[in-house]
């Protein structure tokens, strides 16, 4: 009994000694990181592909959640183009990455419109829309701000958060990438998250 305990203790210590340096040396994400990671807020919206948009659909993949609107002239096209470039650079590994675009302008962005908008960047991107209160609830859960700004032509734009949320293969909200990072930073983080279980 004693010998078995000793052996077990030895194994545990050995494993700890082996794992600890590896953990300490683990490369860090380029994005801001949540610690401890918690389950990501559920989406519960209508998908641009016609199916319900739930995070559980993408379990096993790394999910990048973007908030924006199809008439955005500045931030959204840059972010979506960057993500499309990142997926392109990843080659076959890109199959493990799902980009989800949630509209902050559900009054104008129906599923069809979102689908048409996203196809121009990457046909694999999936959009989410729904009733304004449902979209607002998702925004709140993620901490996204979105505010209508009237324009001189009588139309409006939406001033919104520009961060991209990274969800790991287990459905946990792991990180937030602020606007301005290039495709290579996304490739770096996607690969790290894909490598983790």
């Amino acid at each position: 009994m004693k010998r078995r305990d000793l052996l077990l203790s030895g194994l545990v210590v050995g494993a700890a000694l082996h794992v600890a340096p590896a953990l300490a040396a683990a490369p860090a994400l380029k994005a801001g990181v949540f610690e401890p990671p918690l389950p990501a807020p559920e989406l519960g919206l209508q998908g641009s592909d016609g199916a319900d948009l739930k995070l559980s659909r993408f379990r096993g993949k790394v999910v990048a959640v973007v908030f924006g609107f199809t008439q955005c002239q500045a931030v959204c096209p840059v972010t979506l183009y960057t993500l499309a470039q990142a997926r392109k650079a990843m080659g076959a590994e890109a199959a493990g990455v799902q980009v989800v675009f949630i509209t902050v302008d559900p009054a104008r962005d129906d599923a069809q419109r979102v689908r048409g908008f996203l196809t121009g960047f990457d046909p694999s991107f999936i959009g989410g829309t729904g009733r304004p209160d449902a979209v607002a609830a998702v925004e709140q859960r993620f901490g996204v701000s979105a505010k209508k700004v009237p324009m001189s032509n009588g139309d409006y734009a939406v001033d919104h958060s520009s961060a991209v949320y990274l969800i790991d293969r287990e459905g946990r909200l792991r990180a937030m990438m602020p606007f301005g990072h290039g495709a290579q930073d996304y490739v770096h983080d996607f690969r790290l998250l894909l490598a983790q279980r």
């Binding site: 860090a28 949540f34 610690e35 401890p36 859960r141 993620f142 901490g143 961060a163 937030m176 602020p178």
Partner: protein, 153 residues
């Protein structure tokens, strides 16, 4: 009559010491224990704010320097979620945000009374005047933080 040279020598020695100190501050490499700039949101912050108290946790502006203290680390010790920019931190959760580009970043922040926070990220200070200036600002910032924490206690 004999006192004057002694005083002069003492002043000269002090000046030399001061110059040596300034030279060290301007030229010596900077080493910090950690690249994390930690801010904690204490337990009871939300309750105190709801009770009408003005609670300042974060300064209006946080200065970071690339290669030295270029990672913002926020820790929510409160009982309710707190928002920092586009991030909601659950109770007990922390958020570590590294910066790699020198710039000024603006964040909306519910942990701050004004609701706004600027993070100013500067380049690594070169030897000479920039390094001297950096040490001076860093020392001032540390003193201000110490005074704030004493005031809170």
């Amino acid at each position: 009559m004999k006192r004057r040279p002694v005083v002069t020598r003492a002043i000269a020695a002090l000046l030399l010491l001061l110059l040596a100190g300034l030279a060290w501050a301007a030229l010596a490499p900077i080493h910090l224990a950690s690249r994390d700039q930690l801010f904690e949101i204490p337990k009871g912050t939300w309750a105190r704010r709801m009770a009408g108290n003005k609670v300042e946790i974060l300064p209006d502006r946080i200065d970071l320097t690339l290669g030295l203290n270029d990672t913002l680390l926020l820790h929510n010790l409160d009982d309710v979620p707190q928002q920092f920019g586009p991030v909601v931190m659950m109770p007990g959760q922390s958020f570590r945000l590294p910066f790699e580009v020198a710039s000024t970043y603006s964040f909306a922040c519910s942990a701050h009374a004004s609701g706004q926070l600027a993070v100013v990220v500067s380049e690594h200070p070169a030897p000479g005047w920039p390094r001297l200036q950096w040490r001076w600002h860093y020392w001032k910032q540390r003193m201000a933080m110490m005074m704030t924490s004493k005031g809170r206690a």
